[in-house]
Chain length 151, copies 2
DNA sequence: GTTTTTCCCTATCGGGGTAATAGGGATTGA
DNA sequence: TCAATCCCTATTACCCCGATAGGGAAAAAC
């Protein structure tokens, strides 16, 4: 799972947006509060609008708002909008992989890995992250001390 | 989760090796049985040896064997040896990410996602995949029909 | 209706990784 | 000796990533 800088920035910007409830917020405020490269993130915001995750408002006193309530936008949706599919093998979706001989059951492993990812990223919303109350099964995953150790 | 062609080939080659039990097998046989690009996979095999996942035997009648029993080598180990860490955010390990303000709890999400990946890839061995008997929790993941649908 | 503010578009850049091939050198067992 | 096999070092083409530059378009405020 390679989360690009672009996707990471996208999530953070949307979290800042969520923190402002329904208000319109200027891009420069979001960017400054997260300390991100301005010009780069401006292009990300346009991508997010095209993906219908945020709405833009032009002109003086313009800015951005979430396209839907924070509880209805998952981290997975944001990552997918920016980075593409959550899981790919050789550029193919896991379920499209076809294997023969000794590798016959390999696709099942990739599909299981993707399903595991989905259970975390698609069931965690901006609202969950914002107030720190993650879903129980996610919290249990991150709760184990060994989850924080490298391998 | 981006599994590169290199890592995919590595796993498939090692599955073929596992199918031959303790025997020494020539690279060309492994490569032909999985229909892979010869010269490319030759370099992968060298990487696998350096990672101590296979042992090589030179000279006439040479070839490769697994460094350990197939039940003691996980898919995760192979992927890590070839592609590097299972999960990275902006080139950093998930537990190294530091966030402020509205993003304060974001690292927990990345860590949970990595933990979910580990539970699948680190607890599934070559032997499991070879005989199609995956661990129960992995099988349950891949068993759900919706796990095979794109999003 | 002008001004100001903000978003928005296109182009560009360097660097680095990915997939793959080429060609031959080093080792070892037969 | 000899032949098979692994092994090493380029080199290639290509694309993506992170980031910046510079200005154009829209829309609200006044
Ligand atoms: S709280 Fe307003 S942008 Fe951070
Ligand atoms: S079964 Fe021998 S390499 Fe495929």
């Amino acid at each position: 799972m390679q989360i690009s800088a672009k996707a990471d920035y996208a999530v953070r910007v949307m979290l800042e947006l969520a923190a402002h409830g329904p208000d319109v917020v200027k891009s420069t405020i979001l960017i400054d509060h997260q300390d991100l490269p301005r010009k780069f993130v401006e292009t990300i915001l346009v991508d997010l609008r095209r993906a219908d995750l945020v709405r833009s408002h032009r002109g003086a006193d313009g800015g951005y708002t979430l396209a839907r309530p924070a509880s209805a936008i998952s981290i997975g949706q944001i990552v997918r909008a920016i980075d593409g599919p959550l899981a790919e093998v050789r550029g193919l979706r896991p379920h499209e992989c076809e294997y023969t001989n000794a590798a016959e059951h390999l696709a099942e492993v990739w599909v299981a890995a993707r399903a595991a990812l989905r259970k975390v990223l698609d069931e965690t919303s901006l609202a969950h992250v914002l107030n720190g109350k993650l879903p129980v099964h996610v919290r249990r995953m991150a709760g184990s001390p060994e989850a924080w150790l490298p391998r």
